[in-house]
Symmetry: C2
Subunit: 364 residues, 2 copies
């Protein structure tokens, strides 16, 4: 894995290229989420037509089902899901946060009770990394411990210290195994000084890239923005920066302006499934009765196969009301396209030195 910063510096909008064994990825990049080894509803070649070149899968979920050994036997994650582009995997750290009632965290690692069959799953920094290596991910994330919002300073400090301790063990394993493409994750909640401490400790370990974790968990856009800006400018300029699990177009634009290079979010496919389509400046609730006889596509200015293909809002509404799977396919496709289109717009604007104007035009 190799990252080249093509334009920009340690803060402010940046243009870059992440070269992986599965192709080059232009940054800033948005990675659609394929938690269980599929970006929900989208055949890989259709996903590729959106311009997506990297996706995020979840090593915790894949280890649970079908199991790392099954994916390995089927040729690794790329072969398994027939995705030719880059794959980033999350370690399971986020599940410490999202499955809080089903896990116990110790300094050694985390013990989950599987929601599928009640089985016990032990994850340590070492096994979390080994799982991702066996899956064949291009970029691997260390086990970390995000904290919810709100959380006490003590709780946040403890989780941030544990994240550092786990990062050290991860770094040791990387050295031992001679691995590439392993990122570090910065935590620290909404406390500026804890973020500073985390950045200092994690960047000291010299990872291939740096993620900012534990944001967009309920702290609100203003607080997120402030903490993010404070954190990002402390990161080394020559490594990719990844804001995990974010988000809406407005959050991405703001984070790009702060110097973030990589994003992932389930929003385009999750909203696609429930009938919410992204359009410039907002969303469209396709189940609403107002669309019943509307021949307009989701967005007349969009060139995705759904809008350019002439599928009307009225037809999409019908598909949702009739419980037809084509509904989620078409709207997920449009939404993923919308995000890739946004990122292409962002990259073009940075390249041409007009990011601020582009950002402003998105707020109109």
């Amino acid at each position: 894995m190799r990252f080249t910063l093509l334009k920009g510096s340690g803060s402010g909008p940046r243009l870059g290229r992440l070269e992986t064994a599965h192709g080059a990825v232009e940054t800033p990049v948005f990675m659609p989420v394929g938690t269980q080894g599929t970006v929900k509803g989208l055949m890989p070649d259709l996903l590729e037509t959106t311009g997506a070149r990297a996706i995020l899968c979840n090593a915790y979920h894949l280890a649970l089902r079908p199991g790392v050994e099954v994916v390995e036997a089927l040729g690794g994650l790329h072969d398994f899901m027939r995705w030719p582009g880059a794959i980033v995997t999350d370690s399971g750290g986020f599940q410490i946060f999202s499955l809080a009632r089903h896990r116990k965290v110790t300094d050694e690692g985390v013990r989950f009770k599987s929601p599928l069959d009640g089985a016990t799953i032990d994850l340590s920094p070492e096994t979390a990394l080994a799982n991702q290596v066996r899956l064949g991910a291009d970029v691997r994330m260390p086990l970390d411990q995000p904290v919810p919002y709100p959380a006490s300073r003590t709780e946040t400090a403890e989780a941030t210290d544990r994240t550092t301790s786990w990062a050290r063990r991860t770094r040791e394993a990387v050295r031992r195994e001679g691995l590439e493409g392993v990122f570090g994750i910065v935590q620290g909640g909404v406390h500026a000084d804890l973020r500073e401490k985390s950045v200092s400790e994690i960047t000291d370990l010299d990872f291939a890239g740096y993620a900012v974790g534990g944001l967009s968990v309920g702290e609100g856009p203003e607080r997120m923005d402030a903490i993010l800006r404070h954190t990002v400018r402390l990161l080394p300029a020559d490594r990719p920066r990844y804001l995990m699990g974010v988000g809406y177009a407005r959050d991405i634009l703001s984070a790009v302006s702060a110097g973030v290079d990589m994003f992932d979010c389930t929003l385009p496919t999750r909203n696609g499934r429930n009938g919410t389509a992204f359009v410039r400046g907002g969303t469209l609730r396709l189940k609403n009765a107002v669309h019943a006889s509307d021949p307009t596509p989701i967005d007349p200015g969009c060139s995705c196969p759904v809008c350019a293909g002439g599928f009307s809002r009225g037809y999409l509404r019908h598909l949702f009301l009739a419980g037809e799977s084509l509904a989620l396919i078409l709207v997920s496709l449009h939404n993923v396209w919308f995000y890739q289109d946004l990122m292409a717009g962002i990259r073009g604007a940075i390249r041409e030195g007009r990011f601020e104007a582009f950002w402003a035009s998105c707020r109109e």
Copy 2:
């Protein structure tokens, strides 16, 4: 609508061409079913890649939801669902059979109680036809009354007489409106003499094509085959013959050998959704544990985008177990492809005068 018999005669395998306002359809043809205005899980352009050139939609279901007026407002069924090929619509006659507990049949027509909201829907031969014309179907079916199996001779005779009486009213409406592409439907259950009477009465009305209805309803393959052969050879050679709702490859091959030109069935997509894939000589239950680590595609000899694209049985099993929508997309696509491939094989074999050998090879 124009039908040209290219090879064959009144009985035995035939090759033909059905020209419609939405393209030419080579026969024998298999029409995937898009009951509610979508062939479940398949984007229209993907459906086209399977070789499908005609599909069957259901005017009863579409009249219920979203309503004929909505489809009309959205440009008719072709525009509505963005399907450029031919569309055949069923009238609602089959729902007299399948929704037996929710309807009342009189000589005037049929009254349904909507399973969606309890509303009353009245269908007469005239309104059933008018709905299909408004939907913009290329081939329209008259309202008929299939009988279940077993049914008494009296019940069968009564329903067959009513089918004739409704066919006369349909024919009258066709003449009045100057319509094209309206078929007649032959009923008569499993009674050879009632089938003869029905053929005689229906063909006297001079429809654009003839369907054989009321088969594959539980009478078993041998009885179906016997009645079908007896019926088909009585139909005029110069009109297309359509065996409604059939079926498995073995049924289609046998019916082709009897002189049938058109087929439809929900099997490829229904089985696709529940994890059963069609392969030469049988089916594959993809949820079975035996496939867990199997890197083989569904059918190594198949050139569909799923098999040729390298999606493994192990991956497909994972998708089904994980409840992922890509599962039904991929297996429906393979199954529809399997049927289109079968029909292409049948047409090629008839063209080259080796249908019997082809049929025998399919039984191996």
